[in-house]
């Protein structure tokens, strides 16, 4: 919101803000590494060796970085499901449900068109995923706008409905009789699966995630639509007075948010599982919420945060195997990083060093006038 208010003050303000939003998270990260290092030393491991292992397992080589990116790609998409509505002032946590419903839509489309050319099938699956996820969170937006239902609660509850719907479908109407022990839908044809990026083992979901984040960024920060949304998020009443179509904005943003998570569900179906079953509901939605919060709802920052989280997830095994640290160590590391980063959010605007000259002059002017 700051950028809205101060856009008129020119680029210098942006620089200070940009610097601040880079320096603070980096400082927070370093501080959390320090805390985690103390823990490692306390249990008798050399903290620097542990850092080295985490780095090696997450970012050290192209092979391990692929591991990180594979884990990060669904998180980028699900993060947008929270990040976009947040710019409108809505706290939506229905990412998991939207992902599941998107996956259901995608598998339905994929099975209906199984014999069509694979490009057509993939496209229809993607559209079905987008639309289903979009309608799911769109319903949350509609409840919010037309009936005043708290969007956080309703979107959370919608998660359970989505998961129950999935279980019903794969146990009943969609069930492949061959999937005895793990009820699943019929599989889509192998030829209709999304492939991997050439020369890697990363599926196309990563591209979807990156593209979606960039589009979301441009949409929110560089278009009138995004400006209207941010204005409504800043002050709903003022936005209404200014004649902004708040209802339409809410619906549109919620639809887009849901469709991002729905696309993540489509990717899970089309690139990973090839069918719908309970594996869809693996927690990517909930992790996306975390990514969105830490990225401060900035879609570009979500890319970075998702990669960081992916890296931490990727380093899960090596800490125990190489350093004989207890199971919970990686969780502790993750917890420390996220708590410190969350806390650092409350420090924005409190360091003089990031304030621009123009801003400082503004604040200093009043005492100067009487003299």
């Amino acid at each position: 919101m700051e950028s809205v208010r101060r856009r008129s003050s020119g680029w210098s303000i942006h620089w200070g803000k940009t610097l601040e939003s880079i320096c603070l998270p980096v400082a927070a990260l370093l501080f959390s590494l320090l805390l985690f290092g103390i823990f490692c030393a306390a249990v008798g491991s050399n903290p620097f060796e542990v850092y080295g292992s985490i780095y090696k397992a997450a970012f050290g080589s192209w092979r391990s970085f692929q591991n990180t990116l594979i884990r990060a790609s669904p998180l980028m998409l699900t993060a947008l499901c929270t990040a976009l509505p947040a710019r409108l002032g809505l706290v939506i946590i229905g990412n998991e449900g939207a992902l599941v419903v998107g996956g259901i839509g995608a598998i339905a489309a994929g099975l209906a068109l199984n014999s069509a050319p694979s490009l057509v099938v993939q496209l229809s699956m993607a559209i079905a995923g987008l639309v289903c996820g979009g309608l799911w969170i769109g319903a949350v937006g509609a409840l919010r706008h037309y009936r005043g239902v708290n969007e956080t609660i309703s979107s959370l509850l919608m998660n359970y409905i989505a998961i129950a719907l999935l279980n019903h479908l794969v146990n009943g109407p969609m069930k492949d009789p061959a999937s005895l022990n793990k009820p699943s839908s019929y599989p889509i044809l192998d030829t209709n699966m999304l492939g991997v990026l050439p020369g890697t083992r990363i599926h196309y979901g990563l591209i979807y995630g990156l593209v979606a984040c960039v589009i979301a960024y441009i949409l929110i920060q560089r278009t009138t639509f995004g400006f209207a949304a941010r204005t409504a998020g800043g002050n709903l009443r003022a936005a209404r007075v200014a004649g902004l179509p708040v209802g339409k904005l809410t619906m549109a943003i919620c639809f887009l948010a849901g469709s991002c998570a729905g696309l993540a569900g489509m990717v899970e179906v089309a690139a990973v599982h090839g069918r719908a079953n309970e594996s869809l509901n693996a927690g990517y939605g909930y992790s996306g919420i975390l990514v969105a919060f830490i990225a401060r709802y900035n879609p570009l920052a979500a890319i970075v945060v998702a990669t960081l989280l992916g890296g931490i997830l990727a380093s899960g095994g090596i800490l125990q195997r190489v350093h004989n640290l207890p199971d919970a160590t990686v969780l502790l590391f993750q917890g420390v990083v996220f708590l410190v980063v969350m806390y650092s959010e409350s420090l924005y605007g409190r360091f003089e060093i990031f304030k621009e000259q123009s801003a400082k002059i503004k604040t200093e002017r009043p005492p100067a006038v009487p003299v």
């Binding site: 397992a57 998020g233 002050n235 693996a282 927690g283 919970a328 160590t329």
Partner: protein, 397 residues
């Protein structure tokens, strides 16, 4: 969001929104942590002596290694072969059935040098094992569940499965002999074939002792629903059931609840005597220490599944030492113990069949005609979709 700058307040000042967000983030974090595969035990990774390069075997578990259930049963097997000379174990627990499973397998192969993998959870097979097996044709994969199909799946995959029916049959006999009220209970996860085989063989065992015995079954709907499992056990106890058995991921809740209610329990997966010193009767348990030791012996002899010297599908019951009976609890009389031992011996020498016709389902329909005896490894049993006579409940829920 518009009030972000409040410079007059101290650094520890948090706004309400931030606190709400913090709480949500913490929750999300908790759930994310489920995504992290952790663990690999230091005690399990001790290699046998000698300078020879050890055989590195990787194990993946979908849950915790100390769940008193399916995962613990496998982990006990892994711990048993870790003691063998020249074998090194790498383990990862809490690995969900997503790309995470693929990455964990890949790491074990590339970082730890594993040449044999036992990804234990049923859901790892398709697509995760299939994909990684194709990528690493020189690594052997063994999956628990009889899913391997010749010609369709990569050559370096083997399936193994323990048919627990015989164990449950004996446990059912013990339960019926111990029950005073003639009413058994069964807490089941999902009405799918392995669960139905399990509860039907338990019932058939019980019927062979008391032909008019009844068993109430409750399906909870999923593999791990501790609250529902406790409710189900309590409601069974309320209905006058005095022995309860189960097929859920972790029998812990059912057994502990039964002990609290003062009724008997018959376990599953692994040995749970410590949870219910008074009421635990016995239980059918997978004998993974024996199964995995058998595999290691084959590896040591230079056999591989790749060149077909290890069969692609190995199934076994009590005779093959794939299934065992948990030690009898204090409540099982000496007479019953002797009967159970005899029954076990007969099942092993082949003079007794669990599925001995005629067997009717609980609607009166004949499922296995008179004169037909099915071995537990018979593929016909893999299509079971009925409940044996005397079972109260239906497969639809």
């Amino acid at each position: 969001m518009s009030t972000r700058e409040v410079p007059t307040r101290g650094l520890l000042y948090l706004r309400r929104r931030q606190i709400i967000r913090g709480i949500l983030a913490t929750t999300a974090f908790g759930i994310t942590s489920k995504l992290v595969g952790c663990s690999s035990s230091p005690e399990g990774s001790s290699a046998g002596g000698g300078d020879e390069k050890p055989l590195v075997i990787g194990f993946l578990y979908v849950g915790a290694k100390d769940d008193f259930g399916f995962n613990q049963a496998h982990a006990e097997g892994a711990a048993a072969i870790a003691k063998l000379p020249g074998v090194k174990i790498v383990e990862q627990a809490n690995v969900p059935e997503t790309t995470e499973a693929q990455e964990a397998m890949r790491n074990m192969i590339e970082q730890d040098g594993a040449t044999v993998l036992f990804p234990t959870s049923f859901g790892y097979f398709d697509p995760h094992i299939l994909k990684i097996a194709e990528e690493f044709p020189e690594v052997q994969f063994f999956h628990y569940g009889a899913l391997y199909q010749e010609g369709k799946h990569p050559k370096n995959i083997g399936s193994y499965f323990a048919d627990v029916d015989e164990g449950q049959y004996v446990a059912g006999r013990v339960a019926a002999a111990t029950s005073k009220k003639g009413k058994l209970g069964f807490v089941a996860a999902k009405p799918i074939t392995p669960v139905l085989r399990n509860l039907n063989s338990f019932m058939l065992g019980a019927l062979s002792v008391k032909p008019d015995i009844k068993m109430q079954v409750i399906f909870t709907g999923d593999w791990s629903l501790p609250v529902k499992e406790a409710e189900a056990t309590n409601s069974l106890a309320d209905q006058g059931v005095d022995v309860v058995s189960m097929h859920v991921d972790s029998p812990k809740v059912v057994i502990e609840t039964a002990e609290k209610r003062g009724i008997f329990s018959s376990g599953f997966h692994t040995v749970q005597s410590s949870l219910a010193p008074k009421g635990y009767l016995t239980g059918a348990a997978w004998d993974f220490p024996s199964i995995y030791t058998q595999y290691v012996e084959k590896f040591k002899a230079g056999q591989t599944v790749i060149d077909d010297s290890i069969p692609h599908l190995i199934r076994g019951g009590m005779k093959e030492k794939f299934v065992k009976l948990a030690p009898y609890g204090a409540a099982v009389s000496a007479e019953t113990q002797k009967d159970a031992d005899d029954t076990q011996a007969k099942l092993i020498d082949g003079s007794l069949y669990v599925y001995k016709g005629e067997i009717k389902d609980n609607t009166g329909k004949t499922e296995i005609p008179a004169g037909q005896n099915l071995k537990v490894t018979d593929p016909a049993l893999d299509k079971m979709d009925w409940l044996a006579s005397g079972v109260i409940g239906n497969v639809g829920g």
